[in-house]
C-alpha cells in the first residue's frame, strides 16, 4: 500500500510541475470526431475440428457483440465504456451446452491533456513493440480458450490507474508512465487433454477475477524515449505472473492453479533500416520460487529471460513479410525435486510439474523459436491473405501454422476463412495441441 501512495505522490508532483490541467493547452489535442461516439462490432465465428477423435464436429461456435461508448469534453476529461456479450452455442469450457456471458471489457474515466494522460478504471494496457509475443506485456492476460485469432479479442484487462507524463508540454521525447493495477487478469490457456494426471480433483482454470485486496496490487513503470526515427523504453514491474500453473495440495491431493508473485525488468525498441522496420523486445521475469534454491524449484516456472528480435518489410505494393526470432532462457533450470515420504504424492507432484513445464514451455533450459508472417492486401483492401507460423526448435520441434483469407464485400463487413494447424512433437506445447487443429469462419461487422 505504501508503494501505491508513493507512486501517487510522484504523479501528482509531476502534474503540478507541468500545470497540465490548463484548458488552453488541452484545446488543440485532437480527440476524435465530436464529443460523444457510439460504435461497436458484431461478429460470429465457428471452429470445426479437422483431425483427431472429434474430427468434423464443432469445437466452438459463438455470436458476440461489443458496444463502445466514449465521450469527452473540451477540457480533456472523458469517459469510455466497452460492453461485451458472448453467446456460445459450443465453447471450449462447455462443449455440449450453450452458454452466455456479458462483461465490461473496458470502462474508465480519463484526462487527456497536453503532456498528461490519466486513465482510471477497467482497462487493457498492452506493452511491447513486437508482434504477438511480448515479453514486456506485464499487465494484460489473454483468453486462449476464445479461439478467435485476433489478439484484440483475446486480451483481458483489469482495474487500473494508468498515468503518463511528457515534459515540456508534451513535446519532450521522454515520457514517464506509471501503472497500478488491482485484481489482475489471468490467462486462460488451452490445456492439452491428458496433460494433468487422471483420477484426481483438478481445477482447470483459476477463479477470475481474483478478489480485490491490497495484496493483489501490481505496480509498473516505464520510461519511453520516442523520436520520429527511433524509440525505446525501459520498464519494471512488481506483481504476479498472469499465467496460472498448477500445484498439488498435499492434504487434499487436489490440483489447483496458482499465479506466483513476480518482478520483471525489460525494454523494447523500434527503428527503420532502409526498407526494414526492426523491433526488439526483452524482459527478465523473476517469479517467486523460480530460483534453484526455492522450495518449489522445478515445480513452477523458473526465472526466465524472454527476447524477441523482429524485422518486417514490404514486398512490392501489396505484400508484407515479417520474421521474428524468439529466445527464452531459463536462468535457474532444474528438474523437480520431490522429497515427500508419500510415493503416490511424489508421483502426482511429478506429473503436475511435467504438466506445468509442458503448458508454460519450460521443458528445457534453452528455447529458441521463430515466427514468420506473410501478408497480402489488395490496394482497396477488399481482399487479404495472411500466413502466420510460430515454431520452436532444438530437441523436438513443434509449430502452429495459421493461414487466413479475408474478403470485405462492403465497407465495415469482413469475412474470414482460415485454419489453425498444430503439429510437431506431441510432447511439446504446440505439438500436444494437434487434436485442436481446426478450420474457422468469421463474419465481423463494425459500426
Amino acid at each position: 500500500m505504501m508503494r501505491f501512495f508513493v507512486l501517487s505522490a510522484v504523479c501528482l508532483l509531476l502534474l503540478q510541475l507541468d500545470d497540465a490541467f490548463s484548458k488552453t493547452r488541452a484545446r488543440h489535442i485532437p480527440l476524435g470526431n465530436g464529443n460523444t461516439n457510439l460504435s461497436g462490432r458484431i461478429y460470429t465465428d465457428h471452429y470445426l475440428f479437422l483431425q483427431g477423435a472429434n474430427e468434423g464436429t464443432l469445437e466452438q461456435s459463438s455470436l458476440s457483440g461489443w458496444l463502445d461508448f466514449d465521450t469527452h469534453s473540451e477540457t480533456g476529461l472523458g469517459l469510455r465504456a466497452i460492453g461485451q456479450f458472448d453467446a456460445f452455442y459450443r465453447s471450449i469450457s462447455d462443449s455440449l451446452n450453450p452458454s452466455f456471458k456479458a462483461s465490461l471489457r473496458e470502462g474508465y474515466v480519463s484526462f487527456l491533456g497536453t503532456g498528461v494522460e490519466i486513465k482510471i478504471g477497467q482497462q487493457i494496457i498492452p506493452w511491447g513493440k513486437s508482434d504477438g509475443v511480448n515479453p514486456t506485456d506485464y499487465f494484460t492476460a489473454k483468453d486462449y480458450t476464445l479461439l478467435n485469432p485476433d489478439d484484440e479479442v483475446r486480451r483481458m484487462g483489469a482495474l487500473a490507474a494508468n498515468l503518463s507524463f511528457t515534459p515540456k508540454q508534451g513535446t519532450s521525447p521522454v515520457t514517464f508512465q506509471v501503472v497500478v493495477q488491482a485484481n489482475y487478469p489471468q490467462t486462460r490457456l488451452l490445456i492439452p487433454e491428458g496433460s494433468i494426471p487422471p483420477g484426481i480433483a483438478f481445477q482447470r482454470y483459476p477463479d477470475s477475477p481474483i478478489p480485490f485486496q491490497s495484496s493483489s496490487f501490481e505496480f509498473g513503470g516505464r520510461i519511453l524515449f520516442q523520436k520520429p526515427d527511433f524509440d525505446f523504453s525501459l520498464s519494471a514491474f512488481s506483481g504476479f505472473t498472469h499465467f496460472p500453473q498448477y500445484i498439488v495440495d498435499p492434504g487434499t491431493l487436489q490440483v489447483r492453479p496458482i499465479t506466483p508473485a513476480e518482478t520483471a525488468v525489460g525494454g523494447d525498441a523500434s527503428f527503420n533500416i532502409d526498407a526494414f522496420v526492426v523491433r526488439l523486445e526483452s524482459a527478465l521475469h523473476m517469479p517467486e520460487n523460480g530460483r534453484d534454491t526455492d522450495p518449489l524449484a522445478g515445480l513452477v516456472q523458473p526465472w526466465h529471460w524472454d527476447s524477441v528480435v523482429g524485422v518486417e518489410r514490404p514486398i512490392g505494393d501489396d505484400f508484407r513479410a515479417q520474421f521474428q526470432f524468439l529466445y527464452r532462457w531459463y536462468v535457474f533450470y532444474r528438474s523437480p525435486t520431490i522429497a515427500t515420504p508419500n510415493p503416490t504424492l511424489n508421483q502426482l507432484i511429478l506429473g503436475v510439474a511435467n504438466a506445468n513445464a509442458l503448458i508454460l514451455n519450460y521443458q528445457r533450459q534453452s528455447n529458441p523459436g521463430a515466427t514468420f508472417r506473410l501478408g497480402y492486401a489488395s490496394e482497396q483492401s477488399d481482399f487479404s491473405a495472411d500466413v502466420f507460423l510460430i515454431g520452436y526448435f532444438s530437441q523436438g520441434q513443434d509449430y502452429l501454422v495459421r493461414p487466413q483469407l479475408g474478403y470485405t464485400p462492403v465497407t465495415n463487413l469482413k469475412l474470414t476463412l482460415g485454419a489453425d494447424i498444430y503439429g510437431g512433437d506431441s510432447t511439446r506445447p504446440l505439438g500436444a495441441l494437434r487434436d485442436r487443429t481446426h478450420g474457422f469462419f468469421e463474419a465481423k461487422y463494425l459500426f
Binding site: 493547452r25 489535442i29 480519463s110 498492452p126 508534451g170 527503420n272 465495415n412
Partner: protein, 268 residues
C-alpha cells in the same frame, strides 16, 4: 549608335532570358505560395474506379505545421469514419535526409507501427495518394527544367497561363520514397499554385495524374494559397481518389505536442 540606344537595345535583347524564371525559381515560388505555417481541416478521401460507379469514403481530421527549420512539415491525421479505421492516426514527420518518418497508430491493438521508407510510396489508406504524396515535396529534393508555357489545362484555370515544369529526383532516397522517377507540374503564373501534375513510376511510365482545384487564398497577409480539392487518378488501374478539405483554419495556434508519438496514441 549612341550609348542610350545601345543600353535600351541590350535590355530588350535580354528581357526574355533575364525575366524568365528558371524551373527552380518557379517551384521555389510554388513552395512559398503553398507553405502555410499552420493548417488544420476536416478532410474526406473518396476512392473509386472509373470502370465502377461505387465509391468508398473515409473522413479524417488533418493538422499540418511547418517545423522550426522553416522548410519541412509535420502532418498528423486522425480518422473518424468508416468504423474500420476509426481513431487510426498517422504522423508524418519530414526530415532533411529525404527519408520521412511515418508512424501509424492502430487503436485495435493500442500500438504504433512504423512505416518503412519503401512503403511510403505505397497507398495512403487505400487511396491513389501515397504517404509521400500526403507529405509535400520540397524544392531542394528535385532538379527542374521548364518545358514550356501554355494555358492552364484545367477548367477552373483555363484562362490563366501556366509554366510547365519537369522535376527529377535529386537523389535515390527521394526516388525510393516517392516511387517517382519524374514528374511534370503545371504551375499557374498568377499565384504559382500547381493545377495539374503527371507522375512517372520507376519504369518511367506515366501512371498518375493529379488535378488541383478550388484554389483559395487562405492567408491574405502572407499570400498563402490552398487547393481544397485534389483529384488523382491511377492511369494503369483506373482507380481514382478525391481529397476534399473543409473547415480550413490557418495559423490558429496548433500545439507542437500534436505531432508526437505520445499524441498519436492518445484517443479516449
Amino acid at each position: 549608335m549612341n550609348r542610350k540606344f545601345v543600353f535600351a537595345f541590350s535590355l530588350l535583347a535580354l528581357t526574355p532570358s533575364a525575366f524568365a524564371l528558371s524551373g527552380k525559381e518557379i517551384m521555389t515560388r510554388n513552395e512559398d505560395a503553398r507553405k502555410v505555417n499552420e493548417f488544420e481541416a476536416r478532410s474526406k478521401l473518396i476512392t473509386g474506379n472509373t470502370k465502377d460507379s461505387s465509391t468508398k469514403s473515409k473522413e479524417f481530421s488533418f493538422w499540418r505545421k511547418v517545423q522550426p527549420d522553416g522548410i519541412h512539415n509535420s502532418t498528423f491525421t486522425r480518422f473518424h469514419a468508416p468504423a474500420e479505421v476509426r481513431n487510426e492516426g498517422i504522423l508524418i514527420v519530414e526530415n532533411g535526409s529525404g527519408k520521412n518518418d511515418v508512424l501509424l497508430y492502430l487503436p485495435a491493438y493500442k500500438k504504433i507501427r512504423r512505416v518503412e521508407s519503401q512503403q511510403q510510396s505505397g497507398s495512403f489508406m487505400g487511396s491513389v495518394f501515397s504517404y509521400s504524396d500526403i507529405a509535400t515535396p520540397h524544392v531542394d529534393e528535385y532538379q527542374y527544367s521548364v518545358l514550356k508555357e501554355e494555358n492552364c489545362p484545367t477548367k477552373e484555370a483555363a484562362a490563366i497561363k501556366c509554366h510547365v515544369v519537369e522535376a527529377l529526383p535529386a537523389n535515390d532516397d527521394v526516388k525510393e520514397r516517392t516511387g517517382y522517377t519524374k514528374s511534370v507540374a503545371w504551375v499557374r503564373q498568377d499565384n504559382f499554385m500547381v493545377v495539374k501534375g503527371e507522375y512517372y513510376n520507376l519504369e518511367g511510365t506515366l501512371f498518375k495524374r493529379l488535378e488541383a482545384s478550388e484554389i483559395k487564398l487562405v492567408d491574405p497577409k502572407g499570400r498563402k494559397w490552398l487547393s481544397h480539392l485534389l483529384f488523382i487518378e491511377n492511369l494503369k488501374t483506373g482507380d481514382f481518389t478525391r481529397l476534399e478539405f473543409s473547415k480550413v483554419k490557418v495559423n490558429g495556434g496548433i500545439a507542437d505536442a500534436i505531432f508526437t508519438q505520445q499524441n498519436l496514441q492518445k484517443v479516449n
